[in-house]
Structures are given as C-alpha cells and as structure tokens.
C-alpha cells in the first residue's frame, strides 16, 4: 500500500471514531437556571453537544441536588426524547430561578442527562452505569415510553431510587414495584375517555359503530390495545370489527389500511409512534378512506406528526395524558406563563411528553424540598404522603397530584385533543376544553 493511501487511512481513523461518539449517548450534567453557569441546554439545545458527552464525575457540587434525566435522545424515539428533555430543562430552570430548594438551603437542581437510546435492550445497562456513578442522585425521570420504563424499573428498585415515567403500560404500577411514579393516566383511562368521546360523537350525530384497533406490538401499543379491546368489545352499539397488531418499523401500511376498509371500520384507534402513525394516516388518505380517528396518543401527539401530515392532520383526534391548553393550565398564571415560555424558548407548542416530564420535575423538586433531604426513602415517603402546594404542580390535568403506594397519580385523567391549524387542541372533556370540536 503506498504512503498516500496509508496517510488517508490514518486520517480517517479519528474521523470514524469521532463519528461513532457523535451518535452515542452519555451522561452529562447541566444546571439550567443557575445564573453562575450558562450551559447550552438552558437555551433550548435539543441534542447533547460534544462538550456534554462526558460522563458525570459523581460530585454533588455542594449546593446542587442531582436529578437524573433519562431520555431517548437517539434511535426511533429520539423525537419524543428531545421533547422530554426540553420539558425537564424548562422546569429545572424555573425551579432554580425561583430560589431552588428552600429547605435544602436554596440548593439548585442539577440535571444529569443520559441518552438511554430507543433500544430497550440497552436501557438497563445504561441506567445501571449512571446510577452507580452517581450515588448521590436524588431521583430519576424522563422515560417517555413504556418499553424503556419496563427495562429500567428493576434497576431503580435495586438502587431503591424513586423515579418518574411517562409510560402508560398498566404493568408499570401493578407488579409490586415500590419506586416508580407516574403523573399520567394509564391505558385503561385512555380507553375510558375514548369510549366516552365516541359516545359523545354518536350523540352529536357523527355516527360510527364499527371499530378497528391497530397497534404496534410494543409494551405501549399492547397495553393500549388490550385496554381498548376490553372496553369496546362489550360496549353497546359498538362492534369491534378489527383488532390487528404490527411490528414497528414497517415500510408499508397499505395492507393494514386495506384490512380496515374491508372490515368496514368507520372508527379507527391507532396506537403507534410518529413514523408509523404518519404512514398509516397518509396511506388512509391515499386510499380515500376517512374513518373517525381517535388515536391512542404517543406518535399522534408529536409536533413532527403535524409537520409531516401538513394540512391533512387537521381534524384528527387522539386521547392524551396532557395538553398545553387544558383549563387547569389556562386558569393558572404560573402554568400559562410556563407553557408560553416553552413555546418562546423552543419555537414549538409544548407537546404532551414535555408537559408530563415538566410536571415530573416539579413534583420531584417539591417532594425533595418537602423531605428536606436527598435520602431516597424520605423522598419516596414525601411523594406519597405530601399534598403539593407549588402552583406549577397544577400543570397536569386536572390539577394537584396525589400519588398512591403503587405510584399512580390517582387524580390523573385523560383528555381528547384534536389537531386544529397544525396544533393539538383540547376538545374533551368539555370542562377542560381549550377549543371547540372542529366539524
């Protein structure tokens, strides 16, 4: 091999090594809202910069309390991971700017950001590594999908560390785990609100009696679909005409849509993430098939879904755990300001996952403050026993949370949102609606 080629090869080695790390996750520390330090993430950076790829050194920083943010910042769920990060960073900034944790001497929250990828087979090892390197971490949050949550639960149980999740799979809080909390409703609540909404549409003369449930065979999709099947298969005046699963990452939705059309479904409940939802909805449009769509959340609520679908997104409805315009938010000055600040900072509406993880950070902060300690058992006890008082804790519908021993917020409700003018608007239940249902 001549010298020139050898030189090129040697030059390419560091480039390839750098590119490998460009896509890899790592843990990094930021303290948004700390005026003595201005990390890029406080300005709304959505991806760890090269400078943020280093691992945390495990120090507490003295006047800071560490909270772990575990988000899918790469892979197929990176879309929701970015939003999760934005919600948590904004909440952290607001808490820190408002004096931090008063009962801990005004300590500021320090986020330890970790990319858990979108691959649930890798999550446990990544979380284990971060927790072992950060024994002073007070709690964790992020976890935008049920799949990664279920993979991480046992690690947090081993470390006896409380953590918050957005996962809606029923198994998360029914298998005897003690340290998981979620400020979201579960799959059963989703199907309850979907049935209620369908009845509302029927009473309003919009028809629809034959249901099709199509879902991805992941922890999220299966949980949603099983809850929906249990609810709808015995519902008066409704017939479950199709119940079909698919593997995520498929390349073509036309056989699925053909099946739905053949089954005569005039109401479709898709449970999938963004890519698959876009493919299903655009294929429906191409095949001139326009059933009533009442989605199972997830991909149907992401900004990227609205961008991808363009104008044809308008009118599509979905169940949701959270939306930026529900009345619990619009009736609170602090929550309204937070939602507005999110939009100004990140240039997009505050999506469901951002709102949920925002609420988790605020809940965690107030619980740590109430406990006056970063001891895991004290924090866990505080979460379960306390009554929240911080106004930002009103951000999750219907208002202040109340966690039970299993980790569920017993007050959590589901909403129905409808895409209008490229944004999801809360349309049901009527007492939480931020907009009227578009005809």
């Amino acid at each position: 091999m001549n010298m020139g080629k050898r030189l090129i090869g040697l030059l390419l080695i560091p480039i390839m090594i750098t590119s490998l790390f460009a896509g890899c996750g790592g843990a990094s520390s930021t303290t948004p809202g700390n005026t003595s330090q201005q990390p890029a993430s406080a300005q709304g950076g959505s991806v760890p910069t090269q400078a943020e790829q280093g691992l945390s050194d495990g120090s507490t920083g003295g006047d800071t309390v560490k909270i772990g943010l575990f988000a899918c910042l790469s892979g197929n769920n990176a879309d929701s991971g970015k939003i999760v990060r934005q919600g948590v960073e904004l909440a952290t900034k607001l808490v820190n700017e408002n004096g931090g944790l008063e009962n801990l001497g005004g300590a500021k929250i320090e986020l330890v950001v970790t990319d858990i990828t979108s691959d649930s087979t890798q999550v446990a090892a990544i979380v284990e590594r971060v927790l072992s390197q950060n024994p002073d971490m007070a709690c964790g949050l992020g976890f935008s999908t049920s799949g990664v949550t279920l993979a991480a639960i046992s690690v947090f149980e081993n470390y006896k560390m409380p953590f918050f999740t957005c996962g809606t799979n029923n198994d998360i809080t029914t298998k005897g785990y003690n340290y998981v909390f979620r400020n979201v409703c579960n799959g059963t609540a989703f199907s309850d609100i979907q049935l209620e909404f369908i009845r509302y549409l029927q009473n309003a003369g919009y028809g629809g009696t034959k249901l099709g449930i199509v879902y991805e065979n992941t922890a999220y999709g299966i949980s949603m679909a099983e809850s929906a099947e249990a609810k709808f298969s015995n519902a008066d005046g409704l017939e479950l005409a199709l119940y079909e699963s698919f593997s995520p990452g498929f390349s073509d939705a036309s056989s699925l849509v053909t099946k739905l059309k053949n089954a005569g479904c005039d109401i479709v409940i898709p449970c999938a993430y963004a890519n698959e939802c876009s493919l299903i909805m655009s294929t429906m449009a191409q095949m001139n098939y326009s059933p009533i769509v009442v989605g199972g959340g997830a991909g149907m609520l992401l900004p990227s879904f609205g961008v991808d679908m363009g104008e044809s997104v308008n009118g599509i409805t979905s169940a949701s755990c959270w939306n930026f315009d529900s009345t619990n938010i619009t009736n609170s000055a602090a929550c309204t300001a937070a939602v507005k600040q999110y939009e100004e900072t990140y240039g997009d509406f505050m999506a469901e996952h951002a709102g949920l993880t925002f609420s988790h950070l605020v809940a965690a902060a107030e619980a740590i403050n109430y406990a006056g300690s970063t001891d895991h058992e004290e924090i866990r006890k505080a979460i379960i026993e306390m009554t929240p008082e911080w106004e930002l804790n009103l951000i999750n519908p219907p208002g202040y949370w109340d966690f039970d021993e299993k980790g569920d917020n017993i007050n959590a409700i589901a909403l129905i949102v409808q895409w209008q003018d490229g944004r999801p608007r809360t349309v049901y239940p009527l007492e939480y609606a931020g907009a009227e249902l578009m005809q």
């Binding site: 390419l12 959505s46 970015k82 699963s245 056989s255 053909t258 191409q286 990227s304």
Partner: protein, 293 residues
C-alpha cells in the same frame, strides 16, 4: 375481488420501492462480488442530500426536481467510498467486505446523527397523500412515480451494460476479472464505476422516498433486510432479477398482511426466500454458473 386487485397493486408498488434499492445493491455484488451492508445507509444519505438541497433552494423545488443533483452527489460519494474504503480490501475475502461495509453502515448512521440530530426531518411534498384512482383501486402517487423510475432505471442499466463499451467491460469483469484484465480492461476503473453507480441508485431511491417517509439516521434499516432477500431471490448480480424479485416480495408481503396478519408478512417473505434457496440456490432469475471469486 376488488380487495385482491388492490392488494396486488399495493404489493407491486411497494415492490417497486424495494426494487429501486435492490438494483444498486445487486449491481455492486454482480461486479465486485461484495455484499454491501451499507446500502440502506446510502439510501439514507440520499434522503438527507435531498433534504439539504430542498432547504438550500428555499423549499421551492420538489424532490423530483432535485433528482439529477442528488444523483451526481451520490455518484461522487460512491467513487470516494470505493477508492478510500473498498479498494484497499478487494481480494481480501468475504469477511473483509462484510466487516468494512457493516462498519461503514454504523459510521454513516452516526455521522448523520451528528450532523442532523436524531430528530425526524421532512421534505415537504404536495403529493404525499395523493393517489391515482383506477376504477375502485387507489394507487399511491409517490409510489407510482418510484415504480416507474425503477422500471426506467432497470431498462437504462440493462441498455448501458449491453450496448456501451463501458457496460460490456463491466460485464466482462463480473464474469472473469483476470481474463478481462488480460484483454486490456481497466478493472480498477470498472470497479469504481460499478460501485459508484450502485451508490447513485441508492441515492436516487432515497430522493424518491422522501415524499413517503420521514428522514432519520436509522431509516435505512427499515429496508435493509428485505432488500437483501430481494437481491438473493432475484439472483445475485442479476439486475432484472432484482426488479422482479422486489415485485414478488412486495406482493407476497401485501397478500399475507391483508389476508392473514401484518406480523406474519415479513415471516412469509423469508419463508419464500428459504423455499427458493432450496429449489433454486442461485436465485429465481439466475442463469446458473458458479460465482467466481
């Protein structure tokens, strides 16, 4: 009946997408005898190239208008990759090819993530939800366009290989490298041309897929496995085989997905693959003859 006809057309259309990607892959194998595990990533690069150009031109051009530019960019990229990464390992055996192309696949994914982040990107298209209506059958317009481009590509490539000096030289190299060299063919140059064309076809596929799929670093993996099955089914190195193999896979996938289960559709494709390999190990359209190292 309508359902069956719709399913056939659905299958042919997605099969056309597979064929589009498979043509490039089979060309690379046919000449260089390399199984290119990075072909899906070249499709991804083609999509990102379209995205960058789309934004560079102020979002005023359609992805179809950008096709010639994307093709030129990918042709050049193919040449660079061939010279820098592939040529040094030529003749070193299949393991070297597998390792270098799978490594390349990983590097390209991570480079894309580094430059563009993992967020979904889009090339806005007015025809994303458009379709043609034939009686009671609906045909996705972006897929129809991709299908016809696949047909044209196959015809052009076949014509190129049969009727031009360079094409004949490439064919001779694919049949017997040593004899071709003795007859004065510049083998190294033919390798570069063949590899570059294969990468260009992947890039063209990527450009045509932007109205259908969102763009993210791992989009290539959606097609990789199926496209390999297509190429082997059609006969490694057989351009027409890759085309018809793609159509066959698309139809089988759609029939099983429509009449049985979408979860079983990939399994059905690979069951077909196994059956064909048992009955015709060289592929459905291969003309026989052992592969020469």
């Amino acid at each position: 009946m309508i359902t069956a006809i719709q399913t056939i057309f659905n299958g042919l259309l997605i099969g056309g997408v597979y064929a589009l990607i498979a043509v490039g892959l089979t060309m690379i194998f046919g000449v260089l005898k390399i199984v290119n595990l990075a072909q899906g990533e070249f499709v991804m690069i083609g999509m990102y190239a379209t995205f960058v150009l789309f934004n560079l031109f102020g979002q005023s051009a359609t992805s179809y208008m950008l096709l010639p530019l994307v093709a030129i960019i990918m042709l050049a990229l193919g040449a660079v990759i061939m010279i820098v990464f592939i040529r040094p390992v030529l003749g070193k055996g299949d393991t070297a090819y597998i390792l270098i192309t799978s490594g390349l696949s990983f590097v390209l994914q991570n480079l894309a993530q580094g430059f563009f982040t993992a967020n979904y990107q889009f090339v806005k298209s007015d025809i994303k939800t458009a379709s043609l209506k034939l009686g009671g059958i609906y045909l996705s317009l972006p897929k129809v366009i991709a299908f016809f481009v696949a047909v044209v590509l196959v015809l052009l490539v076949s014509l190129f290989l049969k009727s031009t000096d360079t094409g004949r030289a490439i064919r001779s190299v694919s049949i017997d490298r040593a004899v071709s060299q003795m007859l004065g063919v510049n083998v190294a140059k033919m390798y570069i041309i063949a590899f570059s064309l294969g990468v260009m076809f992947a890039g063209i596929s990527g450009c045509l897929l932007t109205p259908i799929y969102s763009i993210y670093p791992r989009i290539g993996t959606v097609f990789s496995t199926t496209v390999f099955a297509v190429v082997v089914l059609g006969g490694l190195g057989n351009i027409k085989g890759a085309f018809f193999g793609g159509l066959l896979v698309g139809v089988v996938e759609n029939f099983v997905g429509t009449y049985y289960s979408m979860n079983l559709a990939p399994a059905a494709v690979f069951l077909l693959f196994i059956v064909v390999m048992l009955l015709r190990p060289d592929g459905l359209f291969a003309k026989g003859g052992a592969r020469k190292a």
